[in-house]
Amino acid sequence: MAGNRSGPSLKPSGKDTSKTLEIPSATNQSTQPPMPLQGVGGHLSERSAGDSMPTVSSPIQAHEFDLHFKYEIAKMHGGEKLKQCFQCGTCTSDCPVARFSDSYRPRQIIRMAQLGLKKRVLSSDTLWLCASCFTCTDRCPQDVEVASVIRILRNAAAEQGLLPSIFKELGSNILETGIAYRIPELRLKKREQIGLPPLPKGNAKAVVGLAKAVGFLKTLGRRGEP
């Protein structure tokens, strides 16, 4: 695998698409981790450091295959075409993030989903590197909604408590303010000073009600009231 491409060369280079299942994760990058997972708090790092979880590049054991996984995904909105992927690699070669990551390869994520390597793919740090630009989805010759399959996998990981802390923060802000950020008082005052209309108060109560109904409190690791 190529090293960090921070030099002047701007060519998309060094993509090794031959090793389908070799996906280095934070656990096996002993030499200079190419992508420090800033903001990925607790869960992911602790879990992937534990030896009970198979690392993404360790040899695959027969018992790891969950043969129903791909059918589960195909039932979800956006996952319908997963089985049509024939591993051409268009998604990876056109992925802007893959060009600067030594580990994020959408094609490999799709393959792991097809094979039913559920634990590996859901506990993989690289799952969280998709920028949701939808280039892969728009260019897939098999009409696989690659970015949506990744979203389905992320949702499933989050359900197990495997999610970067940034998402918990954004989610908590939404529950408390209605929007994803906490806007400082000073900024609100400045808005009025420069003649902008005041910002909405947000309807946190309505949002919390919906969050309970769809299980979002559980996603954030909360039981009752936020």
Partner: protein, 304 residues
């Protein structure tokens, strides 16, 4: 202006989203100025909540109900939505389309609203600012509103993925070779500059997960923009803007390079061409100082 004067003007609910009021009010300020002059009436939407996009990765259903709630409230007002953030616009457009087409999903989502006064009926449309400018104002009207052509100014654009992608859900312009923002830029008289990988993502959505990759992506685009000889880069997204403008000094330090490329919101560029004084367009709020480029463009137009 009084209500009667404006009554025939197109009216839109303004969906501000989260990032613009949080950090990019310059985009909002310039948009309000420009749209006001172009005869678009913006109605405030104080009851809105997050579009849902930021938490889609962890709970898709929560995204759906958040987006649907906004759509329902716009339906109650009987008004179409304009969003300045492509993330909000794209999310609301996709969910609106999905709920209009998928009766089963619509029933499920409305089930969550059953104890409230809202219900998704599918009676409104959502547009991003670029789409509104192209379709509800029109290129000809924009050209007619230009008081000082920015001839001689060379600008590139970074449109932002969610204005056009995913093509199936968003259904606007051609994501592989978008032309509408280009036409809007050319309407100001500025010279549109092509550059390598102009449709590539800025990387903003993974800030907080891996900032380094974002900065590498943004740096590469700035290199291409500079190589193409553009004097400014035009954006229509608060996240892209933060990536290229707010983070530009950080990128310069990280890679030991100098770009000094001013990043203007499209309504700022248009506003200058329409004759607004630069102080009314919040140009001072930009991190990368645009003064030199702005004064040059205003001088140049006098020569033309």
């Amino acid at each position: 202006m009084t209500t009667s004067e404006k009554s025939s003007n197109p009216k839109f609910l303004l969906f501000l989203g989260c990032a613009i009021p949080y950090r990019v009010s310059s985009y909002e300020i310039a948009t309000r100025k420009v749209l006001g002059k172009l005869g678009i009436e913006l109605v405030e939407m104080p009851e809105y909540n997050c579009c849902g996009l930021p938490i889609d990765p962890i709970n898709h259903e929560m995204m759906l109900v958040l987006a649907a709630r906004n759509l329902c409230m716009a339906e109650q007002r009987g008004l179409n939505i304009v969003a300045l953030c492509p993330g909000c616009a794209g999310t609301l457009r996709k969910v609106n389309k999905k709920l209009k087409e998928d009766k089963e999903l619509r029933g499920k989502i409305n089930g969550y609203f059953k104890d409230t006064e809202i219900e998704f009926k599918g009676s409104i449309e959502v547009k991003h600012l670029v789409q509104l400018l192209a379709e509800d104002v029109g290129i000809d009207k924009i050209k007619g509103a230009v008081k000082r052509r920015l001839a001689g100014l060379r600008v590139a654009e970074h449109e932002g993925c969610h204005v056009t992608r995913p093509a199936e859900g968003v259904g606007f312009d051609d994501p592989e070779d978008p032309q509408i923002l280009r036409e809007l830029i050319e309407a100001t008289g500025a010279k549109y500059v092509e550059y390598t990988d102009r449709t590539a993502c800025c990387g903003a959505p993974i800030v907080g997960v891996n900032d380094k990759i974002t900065l590498q992506l943004a740096r590469e685009k700035l290199v291409h923009v500079k190589e193409a000889g553009a004097q400014a880069l035009i954006t229509v997204c608060p996240f892209c803007h933060m990536t290229f403008d707010t983070n530009q000094p950080r990128i310069e330090r990280m890679f030991n390079e100098t770009f000094k490329i001013p990043i203007l919101h499209y309504p700022q560029l248009l506003g200058l061409a329409m004759g607004f004084p630069s102080e009314e367009l919040a140009l001072k709020e930009l991190r990368v100082d645009p003064t030199a480029v702005v004064s040059q463009m205003l001088e140049k137009r006098e020569d033309n």
